[in-house]
């Protein structure tokens, strides 16, 4: 378990120059204030404060090693699995501190689902892959209900038509793009509130990528979605809000179209126009 230091919200953004931390209209689903992450001695995230809204797809962009994935993993405490990682600052989900001692990690991760960079289906049948989450969390009271959850999850992930006749096949037998949609369906099946996607398309071909992006578009609004991507076109296509990270700090956060057409920060402009990264 990581030590959490609650830092006063007053010392806003040492990096300066962040235009806004707000996600716009409505109350935010998740809020983070002054998040810092250390891997042993090394600091990976430096004072990031950001709000994530229910209605939006939020994209994190930035050059490799800028800390966007590290930050994403703070949001459902997957960093707990790395013994030397230490997270400080405030991260709240529906105004609850997710690093509070009484917060249950297991429940948190059910509420904040995650899709990984490389598709990682379990070496079980497609059905069992989806049913795994509902089973461990006890979300279905019977076989029928479980079937229903599996079906709707696969439908939402746009995979139902392709796999409905072979639910007993191994999840690892699917193509890469199908595997990733299976992982999304698996995340959906536990009925999360937030879905974190860590470069979900980086291991996929363009056609599979397009399908995933379409899927993100479809499920938007039902879940708060945060997507980390190094592909700026993808960020522009799928997100409504974009956060630009650089060297562990949040440089700029705002409406996606503004970020891409009229960034306020020099660094953002350089990155967007391809001067580095």
């Amino acid at each position: 378990m990581n030590d959490i230091e609650h830092i006063e919200n007053g010392s806003e953004t040492a990096s300066g120059g962040v235009s806004s931390i707000s996600a716009g209209e409505g109350s935010p689903k998740m809020t983070t204030r002054n998040v810092e992450v250390y891997y042993g001695e090394k600091q990976a995230i430096n004072g990031v404060s950001i709000d994530i809204n229910m209605d939006n797809v939020t994209a994190f962009i930035g050059p490799s090693g800028c800390g966007k994935s590290t930050f994403l993993r703070c949001l459902n405490r997957m960093n707990d699995t790395i013994p030397i990682a230490k997270v400080t600052g405030d991260i709240e989900l529906d105004n609850e501190d997710i690093y509070a001692p009484d917060m249950d990690v297991v429940q948190l991760r059910a509420r904040v689902g995650m899709v990984f960079q490389k598709p990682n289906p379990f070496p079980k049948s497609i059905y069992d892959n989806i049913a795994y989450g509902p089973r461990i969390h006890g979300l279905a009271s019977g076989k029928d209900e479980l079937d229903h959850i599996v079906e709707t999850s696969l439908q939402r992930a746009g995979l139902w038509g392709e796999v409905q006749d072979r639910l007993d096949d191994s999840g690892t037998a699917l193509s890469g793009g199908q595997q990733q949609r299976l992982c999304i369906a698996r995340a959906i099946a536990v009925d999360p509130e937030v879905i974190l996607m860590d470069e979900p398309c980086s291991a996929l071909d363009p056609i599979a990528t397009a399908k995933i992006e379409e899927l993100i578009h479809e499920i938007r609004g039902k879940y708060a979605i945060v997507i980390v991507t190094h592909n700026m076109q993808q960020a522009a296509r799928v997100s409504q809000r974009t956060a630009f990270f650089h060297l562990g700090t949040l440089v700029e956060y705002g409406v996606t179209s503004d970020i891409f057409t009229n960034p306020t920060q020099e660094k953002t402009r350089d990155y967007i126009t391809g001067r580095y990264g």
Binding site: V106, Q107, A110, I136, T152, Q155, W160, G161, D191, E218
Partner: protein, 421 residues
């Protein structure tokens, strides 16, 4: 994407705070704790098996290094009829002692002090008197009191619980009985009387056997490892060699014993029970271990070293013998020591080639009948006489000490010379 009508999974969002969910979470955490407890329990149980085994062996075995002694007054001038100390000095001492008849003198002394047929002392007690005279010949000219080992049953009764008769004797002589270190245990060989047995013969047999094993298995193992890792072309024969080595490493040791019996004894006609045959058999068993560990050590030498050597014009043989082998040697040695430790503890194949004979004199050559420490342990464990229990355990302690030393050496080598590239 086929937009099938998307119905919500659940019309109402999951109530994570609800009572049902909380109860479920509690149950899941209870299962988590149970599982973890089961895990640590398994580790501790396994470790406690080891602790218990060592405890039993040490508890029984430490007594095997001691012997119970009883003082005996010997009036040498009267018993020997006036032998002089000078007889037992110099080169003729042994011969003169023989003609003196120490055994009869001691028996007479025992009869005088404790009555005839007392059967208090070990049958080998006179040997202690003999070495006492050799050490200090002057005692033959005076009245002396020597403490001598008692008979085995009394020894057992004094150390722990013995037979009724023996316990009575112990009670009678309780004030005179004492405990001394049993040097004979380290210098004698096998015997029928537990008070006179020793492990030196078996230890020497083990030593000779291990030297033969090492001389055979080490060069062959290293050369084969070098060949397979550095030169072997990809072909049938290489595959066959690899399969053979991997299989040999997994063949039960008793099968090697059968091989030794059929080939070394029956075809080559080598002598039974000899350290030579034992060493050869164990060498065949150890060789695959050395090859496998040797290959790993050779593999871990980075290719850049080979390229550098080749780049300055070394031949492939020179590359390997000048650069790769020296760098891989610590790893190979570690594997060799581990393989040798295994061979040292091996019993079954040696039983097959007849190394289970009663060997009362230590072997003096590779073809002399010999036994080894583990086999000696096995033979003593079969003895009915209770005195052998502690001797068996004591021999086990010695064996485990040797293995511990070898393994510690291997670990030291690994830590001292292991290079991370």
């Amino acid at each position: 994407m086929n937009s099938a009508a998307i119905s919500p999974v659940d019309p109402t969002p999951t109530d994570w705070r609800g009572e049902v969910m909380q109860r479920r979470i509690k149950k899941r955490y209870a299962a988590e704790r149970r599982f973890k407890t089961l895990g640590i329990g398994s580790v501790l149980l396994s470790a406690s098996f080891l602790a218990f085994l060592l405890f039993v062996m040490v508890g029984n075995g430490l007594r095997g290094f001691t012997q119970t002694e009883l003082p005996l007054d010997l009036d040498f001038p009267a018993l020997t009829g006036g032998a002089s100390a000078s007889q037992f000095e110099g080169p003729n001492a042994e011969a003169n002692l023989k003609s003196l008849g120490v055994q009869e003198i001691v028996d007479a002394g025992i009869d005088i002090q404790y009555g005839e047929n007392s059967e208090l002392f070990s049958a080998g007690a006179w040997k202690a008197v003999r070495s006492a005279i050799l050490q200090n010949p002057n005692i033959v000219e005076q009245k002396t009191t020597l403490t001598l080992p008692v008979e085995s049953e009394i020894d057992v009764a004094y150390k722990s619980d013995g037979s009724k008769a023996a316990e009575q004797i112990v009670a009678k002589f309780d004030n005179e009985l004492s405990t001394g270190f049993n040097w004979n245990f380290l210098s004698n060989s096998d015997a029928t009387d537990p008070m006179q047995v020793g492990i030196w013969g078996a230890l020497k047999g083990s030593l000779i056997t291990m030297i033969i094993t090492l001389l055979m298995a080490f060069p062959i193992g290293v050369l084969a490892a070098l060949y397979l890792e550095e030169y072997a072309p990809k072909n049938r024969i290489t595959d066959l060699i690899e399969v053979s080595i991997n299989n040999l490493a997994a063949v039960p040791s008793i099968i090697f014993g059968l091989l030794g019996l059929a080939v070394f004894l029956n075809i080559f006609g080598l002598p039974r029970s000899a350290a030579l045959v034992g060493g050869l058999t164990l060498a065949l068993m150890t060789m695959p271990v050395i090859v496998i560990s040797g290959r790993n050590a050779v593999k871990s030498v980075p290719p850049s070293i080979r390229e550098a050597a080749l780049g300055i014009g070394a031949s492939p043989i020179q590359v390997v013998f000048h650069h790769v082998l020296p760098l891989a040697l610590p790893g190979i040695l570690t594997g060799t020591i581990i393989g040798m430790a295994r061979a040292l503890g091996e019993t079954a194949p040696l039983l097959m080639i007849g190394m289970r004979a009663f060997i009362a004199t230590p072997p003096n050559g590779v073809t002399d009948p010999a036994t080894v420490l583990p086999v000696q342990i096995f033979l003593w464990s079969d003895e009915v006489n209770r005195g052998f229990v502690e001797k068996t355990s004591a021999a086990i302690i010695v064996l485990l000490l040797f293995l511990l030393t070898m393994n510690a050496l291997a670990i030291y080598l690994r830590n001292r010379f292991e290079t991370r590239w």
